[in-house]
């Protein structure tokens, strides 16, 4: 019973994430696309937690932690500017 609920929730979540990813496809700006990646990051954390319960793998929560940390690194990497010569 609970398995069906979790599985349905994962499916719906994935559909929601696919909807959000349309923004990564159409843009138009780089920041718009990056927001879409941020949504996929948070949604990915959520999906990993659900899969961890469903498949009974506790380490997937560790993976969720790593994903959350690296999403912040990616956002920082996007927005940094180099020192300029001029």
């Amino acid at each position: 019973m609970i398995e069906t609920v979790l599985l349905t929730a994962s499916l719906l979540l994935l559909v929601i994430l696919i909807t959000g990813l349309m923004r990564a496809l159409i843009g138009p700006s780089l920041q718009d696309r990056m927001l879409s990646i941020q949504l996929l990051g948070t949604g990915g954390v959520a999906l990993l937690i659900l899969l961890g319960l469903l498949l009974d793998i506790e380490a997937l929560v560790d993976t969720a932690l790593v994903l959350a940390l690296l999403a912040a690194v990616a956002a920082a990497a996007l927005t940094r500017r180099e020192k300029r010569h001029d």
């Binding site: 959000g20 700006s29 718009d32 941020q38 949504l39 948070t42 959520a46 912040a72 927005t79």
Partner: protein, 94 residues
């Protein structure tokens, strides 16, 4: 009973994720989208973490989940600020 409550939390969290996703698609301009997204997905993840903690029924697991949620909240708030600042800079430079 606890499982039922957990399921309700998880299903409710989906509504917030959906709101964030639709906001990202429908709202005009980076800054408006930013608002919709960060609020929705943080609340959504919070509810989902609560539900998963109830269903998992393990204190250590619940603590780990709480840590993940806190991290995502702080990280996504800062990321949102950085992306907003970057969008402003682009506008000034062009």
């Amino acid at each position: 009973m606890i499982e039922l409550l957990g399921s309700l939390f998880i299903l409710a969290s989906l509504a917030f994720f959906a709101a964030g996703s639709i906001g990202l698609l429908r709202l005009p301009g980076v800054h408006a989208r930013l608002h919709a997204l960060t609020k929705a997905d943080n609340l959504g993840l919070g509810l989902l973490v609560a539900g998963a903690g109830l269903i998992g029924g393990d204190l250590l697991l619940a603590l780990k989940l709480l840590l993940v949620w806190l991290l995502v909240m702080i990280a996504s708030a800062i990321a949102a600020y950085l992306i907003a600042g970057h969008a402003m800079n682009d506008r000034e430079e062009s």
